[in-house]
Amino acid sequence: MRKTVKISCYRAEGPGTQGRFQEYDVPVDSETSLQDVLMYISENLDPTLAFFKHAACRQGICGQCTVKLNGKACLACVALVPVDSGTVTVEPVSRERVIRDLLCNLGGS
């Protein structure tokens, strides 16, 4: 069953800048991953949202798409979006290390 969920997404222009939350209405079902949701926002609602996308395995192997879903760190590609819990919050793993929006410096070279 498809239903519309409110996604509250952290937005920030860079490290040290004041962040804010932006809400998007996204259709989901019980099999929708967080990566699906972010792709949907990017392709249909707001192409300016930054999240790790350009070199992602989509299968839980590369480990690069880590974000916080309702406060808990997860891999966006394999994390399911809760359908019945009201608003879903998505944030970068660390606001201190944020590059833009959901993208963080993961400590790689």
Partner: protein
Amino acid sequence: MDEKRVVDVLVIGSGGAGLRAAIEAAAAGCSTLVLSKGKVNRSGATLLAGANISADVECDGNSLYNMGFPEAGKDDSKDAWFEEIVHQGMFLNNQKLVEIYVDDAPDRVRELIDWGVKVSRLESERGISISSRELLDVLMRKVTESGVESESNVEAVDILVTDGRVSGVLGINVVTGDYVVYTAKTVILATGGWHSLYPFTSGSTDLTGDGQAMAYRAGAELINMEMVTFCPNTVLTPRRYQGSIVPYILHTTGYGHLLNKKGEEFLDRYFDREVMDLALHTEWNKLLVSFAESKEIEGEGTENGGLYFSMKHCPNEVFERIGQEIPGLKQSYQDMMDRLESGYSLEVAPGAEYFEGGIKVNEKYETTVPGLYAAGECTGGTFGSNRVSAATTEMLVQGFRAGKYAAEAAKQSDVVKVNEIEVDRLKELLEVPFESRGATTPASLRKEMGDMAAKYVSLLRTAEGLRVVGDRVREIRDVLRTDVALSSKTRVYNLEWLEYMTLRNLVDVLEMSAGSAAIRTESRGVHYRDDYPYTDNDNWLKCITVARDGDIIRFRFEPVVVTRTTHPSGRSLYQEYIKSLAAKYV
């Protein structure tokens, strides 16, 4: 001022081919730098090989036996393997490249073992099975020990050519949006395939034909670009597993049933039982099962355009045995296995998986542009019209050779100054979407190209569909030049701008691939023409090459490189021809 770096050998791509090339270039004493569009060692095609549980690395069984694997095929030989590769490639293989593949393979396997790779099982009489992350980690350790430097999140945008010779690469740091100008004596492309052109693929998002497109724009020749392998039994839904080849692995290991939307088995309607037996137990299934699945989906596919992969009615004992037979499966894919065990299916379809065509190379893995080398999946020719043997072996063998010869050439050359005028011209071009007031979004073009590729440059092709693609691609090229605009002017990880650079590459590979497919008016290997269902050995044992001539794309015919195996003659229906080839192995 742009950041600038100078090295002897520059490697583009950090999968197995790029890392193996870098190790060899450094061993020869060259300063070597690896650029990765994503995270070094955690991006590219290698990472997903065998779903990270069973990437098979092959060499002939006899060599493997002599390395201490008693279950390997003792009676196998390099010659026998060579013959199979050429038969299975349906004679379109460059036999010199096949000889190198077969001859070098044991050394590449042995050194992996010497470097401490953990072998999880014997995959076949010719192959050892390794997790792909383990394979990359072992190579990366060696890369670091060799003093090779690497940079993550740098996209190579174009090859810089000065007076007909490679002088370096223009890159963009995707995180900051800053340009970086690399000066290098030789450049090795190791960028994988163009999986991500297709909306449904088993590959990662960074595989967008960058190397093929950059080589094309630099003036290099490409070959066999019509040849695209689709992996059957790639997960379509549930969406969160989409792209996973776990059902493919289960099916080749001998498990599971494929059913159409009515719950009927269908495979043996397309091929005789003995051909299907071969399909079920060897990598021939990529070709055979994908063909049958594509045909079946047209008539009796599910609403999502797939088929059911089911393990219903398997007793629990079977699931227990699978866990032992395929180490890592249960740990990595417990919930997918639980789903199958509970009687629900996975919806599957053929997903874009491997690209036989690519950049044309000689025996030194040099392209037709002096100073430019290529290795791994981004090259074309070794596997002709159908790859059955391991792509991991291809990447190691070719990476080794490309690294060695690129280093040799670098040591004999002076640094060629990059052409600053050319750099400025390229940057101006890349800045266009920031200034444009056009009406086209990168996402809309990406979707349109993906849909076209899926519909017309998939497994089953027709002249009409390929013409639609050819015409539209030329229009898209114009749209890209002038009409694409970005919603945000930020340079920091601007996904729309990155998409714009990807579109530049995808438009080139799509034009080359669809154009070559339109010219080949026969069916051979993974290239099946609904309007020309014959394999025609009298007229079509030749390769199609493609290169840029100014702003015009030029296709040419080229004889197949033959060293040992002579070509057959005659013309027969595709399925009949496959049956006659398959008969040798049954």
